[in-house]
Each structure stands twice: as structure tokens, then as C-alpha cells.
């Protein structure tokens, strides 16, 4: 398998040549951060298939487009299916140097799109599926998704979500696809390396990017990266890669395999207004969830 070291690669300086200034993102939005890294890896040799999500708006209005890459906007539930069709057509036509990337939010992936994601994964379609996870329906105004974490306020969970977050990466690992990774906009080098590895492989590749949303999570737009890093430093969000039947905890998360090194979960929660309504009881439940998640990851990485 490819020997790409995810920690040390420098980011290219020309990312802004592809992702253009003047997009319609909110201040502090994690999406352009992640898209910049994506376009640094793929340049113009990618076709982004984007279902209804914040990015549908962020990329600007017709006839303009804030990214110099091919984009196909598609209905909410269909990103993986459309990407499958594009990929099969390119293969039929003998085009090998263009990567088909489904770029979808958590709603389009974990909720309405989950059947088409599962179908494309089971067929091992030659696509890269990127789920940028801002943990709610942000484009429609902060409604709960299955990827919203327990305890979080949204406009449809005014007293906080009761259920745990749906773990899409684990679901995709269970599909037996060639590559699954988690990433975070707080660690662009790590994401860059993972995209490079995905690029070097074929078949269905899934990358789940944690993407803190200032207006949706109720924090100051200047703290997007800080919130993203705190999620990792508290051990709540774990960066890893899964391929060749093996799970490897990624560099930024490695120290936190030791529970003693993890920052208190409260540091992550208190910086966000969406957890203002959280109770001590729920904080304990979240801590339990973090421990159980690490137990599974540690077991898988042996």
C-alpha cells in the first residue's frame, strides 16, 4: 500500500488558484478550509458531485462559480448514485486521470443519502465520498441531523438532542470498502495526506471531516480551528485511517489514546453556545460515549 506519511507533507501554496476568493460562505466557515485542501490535491482533475447542502450556496450564483473544478449539483439523496454514474461513464470512455468526488454534508450522507452511500459502497464504486460534518442541517437553519451529537441544541431540539451521533465512518468500515478515514478542518495537513492516500487508491473511499460551524454551534467565527482542535484534544473526535483491514490512529489523535492526556470534555463544550443547556448528567453520558468510542478504536487498531 501507498507509503504516504500524513503528518509531514507541506500544503501547496496555490490552493487559492482553484478555490477562488469571493465565495458565499459565512465568516469562519469550515467548508472553504476543507475545499481548499481538496482542490490543492486534485486541482482541476476532479468532478465534485454536490447534493443540497451549504456548499450548494457557498459556491456562488449562476453563471459564476467560486471553484475552478467541475461541479454537478444534484438532489439531496443522490450524491453517491450520481457520482457512481459519472465514474462508470468516465471508465467507459477511457478517462482515467479525473477523480469523481461526492462532497456532501452530514444530512445528505447520514440521513437522506444513507441508502445511496451504502449502495455505492457495497458496489465499491470508484469514487471518493467526502462527508463534511457540521453536525446539523445548517443551510436550512440548524435543524437536528442523525449526526448531531448528544446534548446539542438545534432549532428542532430546543432542549438538546437526546440520542448519540450516528457514526458514519464505522458504518462504512462495516461495508468493507478500501479506504475510510476521519479528518478535521483543524488539521489540514492530516486531511491533505489522507486525500493524497485516497487519490492513490481506487474503489470506494470515504473521508469524514469534522467541520465546526460558527453560527450553528454558536461560537465566535474566529474560533473554528480552535473548536476543531479541542474536539480532537478532548478525545471526542478521533482522527484515524482504515485500509488493508487495519485501523491506524492518525498523528494528531495519537497522544489522546492515553486518557490522561485528554483535555476535559467541558473545555470543548463550554466554548459552544449549543451546549449551554447541557446537564451534568449528560456530560457524564458524553464522557462515557468518548470512552466507549476509544475502546472500539483501540481494539480495532491492534
Amino acid at each position: 500500500m501507498s507509503k504516504i506519511e500524513t503528518r509531514k507533507l507541506p500544503l501547496p501554496h496555490d490552493a487559492r488558484d482553484k478555490l477562488l476568493p469571493g465565495d458565499a460562505a459565512c465568516p469562519g466557515c469550515p467548508i472553504p478550509i476543507a475545499l481548499k485542501v481538496v482542490s490543492a490535491v486534485f486541482g482541476e482533475k476532479a468532478i465534485l458531485v454536490i447534493p443540497a447542502c451549504c456548499t450548494s450556496v457557498i459556491l456562488g450564483t449562476y453563471p459564476g462559480q467560486a471553484i475552478k473544478t467541475s461541479v454537478i449539483h444534484v438532489p439531496f439523496a443522490s450524491a453517491a448514485a450520481v457520482a457512481s454514474g459519472v465514474s462508470q461513464a468516465l471508465r467507459t470512455r477511457g478517462i482515467k486521470d479525473v477523480h469523481v468526488i461526492a462532497w456532501a454534508g452530514d444530512g445528505g450522507t447520514a440521513d437522506i443519502g444513507v441508502a445511496s452511500v451504502s449502495g455505492a459502497a457495497e458496489r465499491n464504486e470508484d469514487i471518493i465520498y467526502i462527508m463534511y460534518d457540521n453536525e446539523a442541517y445548517m443551510n436550512t437553519g440548524i435543524q437536528r441531523s442523525s449526526s448531531t451529537p448528544r446534548g446539542a441544541w438545534t432549532t428542532t431540539t430546543p432542549t438538546g438532542k437526546i440520542e448519540n451521533k450516528k457514526d458514519m465512518a464505522r458504518i462504512l468500515i462495516a461495508h468493507g470498502v478500501p479506504y475510510v478515514a476521519t479528518a478535521s478542518v483543524g488539521y489540514p495537513h492530516d486531511l491533505y495526506g489522507k486525500l493524497q492516500r485516497a487519490r492513490s487508491m481506487s474503489g470506494f473511499r470515504f473521508i469524514h471531516i469534522h467541520a465546526p460551524c460558527p453560527p450553528g454551534w454558536r461560537f465566535d467565527p474566529q474560533y473554528t480551528v480552535r473548536v476543531a482542535k479541542l474536539a480532537v484534544e478532548t478525545g471526542l473526535w478521533v482522527l484515524y485511517e482504515y485500509y488493508d483491514g487495519k485501523l491506524t490512529v492518525s498523528g494528531p489523535s495519537r497522544p489522546y489514546m492515553d486518557p490522561a492526556k485528554r483535555k476535559p470534555i467541558e473545555e470543548y463544550l463550554k466554548i459552544q453556545g449549543r451546549f449551554r443547556v447541557i446537564t451534568d448528567e449528560l456530560i457524564n453520558e458524553i464522557k462515557k460515549y468518548v470512552n466507549e468510542n476509544w475502546y472500539w478504536i483501540t481494539k480495532m487498531s491492534r
Binding site: 462559480q65 461513464a89 470512455r93
Partner: protein
């Protein structure tokens, strides 16, 4: 000429698709469509068809995958029925509004609940506002011809719209009749290479379907209406060409039987038009001046063509095998709306809804309905136009 073989309607569609040489097929099983994609899978497996088949997990994804493949430059095909068509309905609109040529067969089956697999036209006519060119076959041969022609119409630069071909499940879909399959090389030359308005394949950065303001969006939709108008001529041209090359010409958007001197005309669509023709023959024998007009293309709606044929008729009976609950049969509704653009005085008309949910309607039923209408009209006792849902029971 071509090869004559006994084929069911579904297999006729599959062989037409084979001749069109598509690049990508995506489909999901549903009765009564399934034998189309089973045959295509078999042809691919035997190496007789080079297309890639995507065995998707839903109809929504079937049309989604076809859309993606078509956008990336592939000739594509899918097929579905009833609930499957409704499940993909979001994408039915998406494909036409993106102006991307795709061909889809609809093997009609009524809409559930309750569970019922028998045919009427309710699934097909339900798609009438979606911007697809919509044709409907009367038998297996026509299902074959319409499917092959669909690729030609769809990829015509003055059209560039998706095309659906309807045929009734079981009555046509699963009943064999001799079908003539034309020569592969002549078809290939006639159909030509895949044509489409744009291709997104990574050769240049191109965006499709991003956020667009009302005026620009309206402009795009206006062009669909224009393309529909263009399609009328393209359909007629394709019918002419096809007739010259392969010996079967149907007359364009509609097909007529004994209409020229007819004082009364019965209008229908689909398989039961054959039974209607039998009834017309019997009535003619008895001296009734009646003819039958069959709608072959439901969109673009051939109101003008039909009006030209029926303008001198005294009475018209429109048979609908679907109902817009709370209103009337959809063909009747469209016809009356269309006629109103050409005349201030409608002929005597009746709308008969029948054969719903697969109820069998035979030529004797048509005979009775038409005879009663004409007798009333001739005796001056038909006071006004009427609508009736006739539940055939035997």
C-alpha cells in the same frame, strides 16, 4: 431487411436498447419492468452488449446514476414501473431541467395501495409535467421502434430532452408477438454518435445546476417549452426517416384508423387501442361513420395535430385509462384545453375513464360505449358533453 423474432414487449425494448448501443445502464427491479433489465444483463453477460450496468439500490439512484453517466458523456438507459417511477420522480424533473438526453422505459402498472401489479396509465400520465418527451406503444413492435427512436429524438440538438417510452405491463410487456429487428449497421449509421448539449468529464472546469436567480431560471425553463415544440417536428422527421429505412412509419405524434371520412372519432392511447379498432370495424360494418385516433406521443401533446383531424367531426369520445381524482381523465383534460385554442365551439364530447387498475376492457365494451354515444348524438338526445367512469364487470 431485418430479423423477425417473437418477442414480448419487454424483450423488444431490451433489443432496441441493445441496438442503440448504450454506455451505461442503471436499474432497480420492479414488476412488471424487470424482464427488460434481466434481458439486458444477460446480453451484457454474453458479451453482446458492451454497456456497463449499475445495479443500484433504488429507482431514485437508478435515474441518478443515469443522469451522472449522461452528464459525463454516456448514452444511458433505465426502466421502471409504478411505485419505482414515483420514487424517482424527483429525478425525472431534474434530468429534463438539466436538458440531458436519457431514455427510460415505463412498463405501466397502476399506482398502489392496495398492492396491485396490473396495468393502467396512471404511473405514466403522472409524469406529464416533468419536461420529458413521452411516447406510448400499442404493441411489442411499436415498443421496439419507439425505444430506438427515443435515442434519436432525445439526442437531437433542437430537442435535448429525456424521452420515456410507455408500454402496458403484461398486456404488452409479457405477451409475445413477431417483432422485426432492423440491421445493426444501418441502425448504427442512422443513430450516430452520442450527442448532448454539454459534457462534464474533467476536460475543463464546468458547473451544472448551481444557485440561479429567478430570471435566469425562468429563461432555462422557457427553453424547455421551446424544445418541446421543436420535438414535434423532430418526432415526425424521425418517423419518416425510420419508415424509409426500416419500413415502418406510424404517422408521427398520432396514428389514425378510418379517420378521414369519420363523423365520430374515438381517441385512445396504448394497448387497448387495438380493441378499439376492432370495435370501429364492427361499427363500420353496421354503417356507423366512426374512426379511431391513437395518441403515440403524450408530450409534446399533439393537440394541433388532433384538431386538424377531428375538426370536422360531429362527436369525439376520449378514452382515458387513468384519472385525475376530483377531475377527469388526463387526455380529455389536455384535449379540451388544446381544442379551446383552435375553436370557440367544441364538438360533442364524452370522456370515458375505464380499465383502471388493470380491469380488462374488450372490444365489445368499446362497441357498446361508442354505439350508445353515436345513437344519442344522431337522435339529438345527447344534451351535453359528459364524463363517465365505466366500471366494467363480467
Amino acid at each position: 431487411m431485418g430479423l423477425r423474432v417473437a418477442l414480448t414487449g419487454n424483450h423488444a425494448v431490451a433489443y432496441a436498447v441493445k441496438l442503440a448501443d448504450p454506455d451505461v445502464i442503471a436499474a432497480y427491479p420492479i414488476t412488471p419492468q424487470t424482464s427488460i433489465v434481466e434481458k439486458l444483463a444477460e446480453l451484457i453477460d454474453k458479451g453482446e452488449l458492451r454497456a456497463r450496468m449499475i445495479r443500484v439500490e433504488s429507482e431514485h439512484s437508478a435515474l441518478a446514476a443515469c443522469f451522472g453517466a449522461a452528464v459525463a458523456g454516456a448514452r444511458t438507459f433505465t426502466a421502471t414501473s409504478s411505485q419505482g417511477l414515483l420514487y424517482m420522480h424527483e429525478f425525472v424533473h431534474w434530468v429534463s431541467r438539466a436538458r440531458i438526453p436519457v431514455v427510460m422505459a415505463i412498463v405501466s402498472r397502476t399506482i398502489n395501495t392496495p398492492w396491485n401489479i396490473w396495468p393502467d396509465h396512471s404511473d405514466f400520465v403522472d409524469q406529464r409535467d416533468a419536461g420529458w418527451v413521452m411516447s406510448y406503444a400499442m404493441d411489442s413492435q411499436e415498443a421496439f421502434d419507439l425505444t430506438l427512436q427515443a435515442f434519436k429524438v432525445s439526442e437531437d440538438p433542437s430537442v435535448y430532452l429525456p424521452v420515456m417510452v410507455g408500454l402496458e405491463g403484461f398486456i404488452i410487456g409479457h405477451t409475445a408477438m413477431p417483432v422485426e429487428i432492423p440491421d445493426e449497421n444501418i441502425v448504427k449509421e442512422w443513430l450516430g454518435e452520442r450527442r448532448q448539449p454539454y459534457v462534464i468529464d474533467g476536460s475543463e472546469p464546468l458547473g451544472l445546476g448551481g444557485l440561479t436567480f429567478p430570471e435566469d431560471t425562468e429563461d432555462m425553463f422557457y427553453h424547455i417549452q421551446e424544445a418541446m415544440n421543436n420535438a414535434k417536428n423532430v418526432i415526425k422527421k424521425v418517423d419518416e426517416e425510420y419508415g424509409k429505412l426500416f419500413g415502418r412509419k406510424y404517422g408521427g405524434l398520432v396514428s389514425c384508423y378510418n379517420c378521414i371520412d369519420a363523423k365520430y372519432i374515438a381517441i385512445s392511447m396504448g394497448a387497448w387501442s387495438g380493441d378499439l379498432v376492432e370495435a370501429v370495424d364492427k361499427l363500420r360494418e353496421e354503417g356507423y361513420p366512426v374512426g379511431a385516433l391513437r395518441i403515440r406521443y403524450y408530450r409534446p401533446f399533439p393537440a394541433e395535430d388532433i384538431w386538424e383531424i377531428v375538426r370536422n367531426a360531429k362527436g369525439i369520445v376520449v378514452f382515458d385509462r387513468a384519472i385525475s381524482f376530483g377531475a377527469w381523465g388526463q387526455i380529455y383534460t389536455d384535449l379540451v384545453a388544446g381544442f379551446s385554442l383552435y375553436t370557440n365551439k367544441l364538438p360533442q364530447m364524452a370522456n370515458i375513464v375505464a380499465g383502471i387498475a388493470g380491469v380488462n376492457v374488450i372490444s365489445e365494451d368499446f362497441y357498446g360505449i361508442l354505439k350508445s354515444f353515436i345513437d344519442k348524438s344522431e337522435s339529438g338526445t345527447l344534451e351535453r358533453n359528459y364524463f363517465a367512469w365505466i366500471k366494467v364487470r363480467r
